[in-house]
Symmetry: D2
């Protein structure tokens, strides 16, 4: 049985790179994403080529029981989940209140808040029993301020952040390290930013701002900080940190 | 047609007193609560005895269409909603993660976050058309920090707070004043605190801490600040403020 | 002996209007400012014309003993200071680190942080003895976020804010109400904004943004909220609130 | 010329261990502290025994010119300061306002805020010229909330935090990484906590809470996170994080 790093939301950006980083350190990376089986297989194969261990599963996080069953199966079949990464986004772009339907508002909550609640309800008991474990939660600027048009996203991400605080309050003293990572900038990720902007705009953005200029968050670099968090000694744990490119303006500045 | 102050969540504490305060200033107070028709009628009668105008409705805020229909009917039958007060709580006491079921977690969100979203979706369009209006949202310490056992409440209230920020960002410049009130202490309210503690413990708490000692938040006094917020000139609006008894410890202190 | 509202920093903006508001309610307004004796006399005369009581004093708040002596004299000669308003600004415009000298950085602290500390050290003992009193502190966005070029102002205002928290922690339970007011926008005040921008630019700004458009904070309206804070019942005190024009963007938004 | 990690405030706790950690990674550690030449020499010798490079200097950070001259000398004689760690504390224990003198309040500011301003004014120009550099600032809970009795400490640390934000706003885009580390708990450090508590109480605290229980922050573990911050790729920098023992209560919780 190998120690496992489970990634819920393992698209081609942060999730994928976090999986690779932990695999490189000897964890079995369990990658879960909703669609794109081909991309999932490629990610798993890539880790194997690097000499690491990985498994991939399609997972619809809003389906009843899906998260719970996957976690039970991983614990039973692959190994103890030492690190659980919740990396599902819920950004839908800016929408006026009149254009934010009940369904989309509720889906935002199911993805951003309720899904984390369900993951925690499944991984915390075994982690508590083992007296150790790490829950790393990708979050967004919207968790700490609500911009125009972000009704769904901000409400959902703020719920996520506060849930991380209550999880930490209950499980920290039991040895479970909960960390809330505020990704305060655009990530160089084709599956999320790329899809939202469209191929051409994404390519131009990368040329102008990313690449040599390091003006987009590189997911492989984000993964280094996720890994560091998981390795912090329990006498000096971080609950919250922010991440942004050096050239970007922090959310609190103008 | 009278200008209306609508209160969703008009139990015997803040909601009731806010209704009375606005009625005293000439608003028609529309009181809505889920249960206790007798209490509702008493509250309406009390305002009438004081020479004010009031109506009362039983309203199950989580029922589909209920908020929307009530608002439409009030606008059609009573008058323009100048002030909408969202005062539904979602406190369920401290519960370990293992004791926080899916249903209760979702209900918290429906009461604390989604209900406000639905109220805003209904009152903002007419307010925007009139170029004026006020949305006053009662909130709790759990909106800004997640204590142990508050998984459901904190996630839901944080969503409420951030939704207030996005509503303010969209509707502030259109003349709609959104204010988020952090009630950081125990309110001297039989319908909420009283019910949670039980009759005896509530009576003892009032004797020891409240009454002459002003150690519980008096809802009639809270209502004064709600009223002040609604009267602020649009050149100097408050988005957020906190309220607590002088003798209490603010949430950020020990 | 009349109850007194003392204003330290009584220029032609917030300070002056706060003094007038409290005088209208029967307080003796004691206006203190560093320069412009003529303006000071006009402000005092204006209150008298309105039927109120006022006194004016030139006061250099950074001079050793000046605040302390003025407070002692007011308590001895005019009446008990029920409300003390600390309204000294320390904005010097945006300056690169290389252009922010030691003197200006220290002066910012003396005006924004140390002066409040000294005022509190003088007014808290008599307020504590009387079991009541209010300290209203004008603050700025820089107290909660540090923008580019604001090295001196932000460090000084953040110190002011945190000092308000420690004062509240010690003196709140003794009946002294401390409130920290975040003025998050430009105030329609000739003595501060007007001087910083120059006469022409200030006139244009008022025409474009202020006046009919209510896009500048009107000091007379700010004064209404200061007055409300001072009248809050001790069972429901506000420690912190923000103020901005309806059409302005809150500091946390873009 | 070796790349340098400068530590201002290199007592036997965080400062010392940060120096050792960077020395282990090939930096020349320049340790500065106000007193205890013997302890300083021991720290330098210890690094040398481990095969690292280090120098030690007595430095009175509040003396005019002392920080500036030391930095100039290090840049001239030892090598480019790639990492500058500001680790001076300003905790004086809890003191009522009446017991907080002008001198101690001012000294808090000189140590916590003004000293950092002076260090930044000296190291930012060469860092900007080189297009790279890291400024790591040790901070405390008092930077984000003001507890009873913390008048001096909280005002000073809040100034420190906000100054970090303005430094980051100006120098981040120029390649200088500023990070503000909130140490939210008691550090297992004889020179600070040990001295404040006294030898016996400190020994008992270590036995009960620290050692096997990891209930005190271990400075060697804190140093790992400082080192990680300095190695973050500029596409994914952290400005702020918190650190506390797993078993401790975060500042925002009760």
């Amino acid at each position: 049985m190998q120690r496992v790093c489970l990634v819920i939301g393992a698209g081609a950006g942060i999730g994928n790179h976090v999986g690779r980083r932990f695999a490189r350190a000897g964890y079995h990376a369990v990658l879960c994403r909703r669609t794109d089986e081909e991309g999932l297989n490629r990610a798993v194969a890539r880790i194997a080529e690097d000499g690491g261990a990985a498994s991939g599963f399609l997972l619809n996080a809003v389906a009843a029981g899906a998260i719970e069953e996957r976690i039970a199966a991983v614990e039973a079949d692959i190994g103890p989940i030492e690190v659980a990464v919740y990396n599902l986004g819920a950004q839908i772009g800016d929408r006026a209140l009149a254009d934010t339907g009940h369904k989309v508002f509720e889906l935002g909550w199911r993805l951003a808040t309720f899904g984390l609640f369900r993951m925690a309800a499944s991984v915390c008991p075994p982690m508590e029993e083992r007296g150790r474990g790490t829950i790393l939660v990708t979050s967004a600027t919207a968790a700490v301020r609500g911009n125009r048009g972000q009704h769904s996203h901000a409400a959902a991400m703020a719920g996520r952040r506060m849930l991380c605080q209550t999880l930490n309050a209950e499980f920290g003293p039991k040895g479970v390290h909960v960390a809330h990572v505020i990704v305060d900038g655009m990530v160089d990720a084709p599956d999320t930013l790329g899809r939202m902007l469209g191929e051409d705009a994404f390519r131009r953005l990368r040329e102008e701002r990313g690449l040599e200029h390091d003006g987009l968050l590189l997911p492989a670099e984000i993964a280094e900080t996720y890994f560091h968090l998981s390795q912090q000694h329990r006498s000096a744990w971080t609950f919250e940190l922010d991440l942004r490119p050096f050239s970007d303006t922090p959310w609190w500045n103008r």
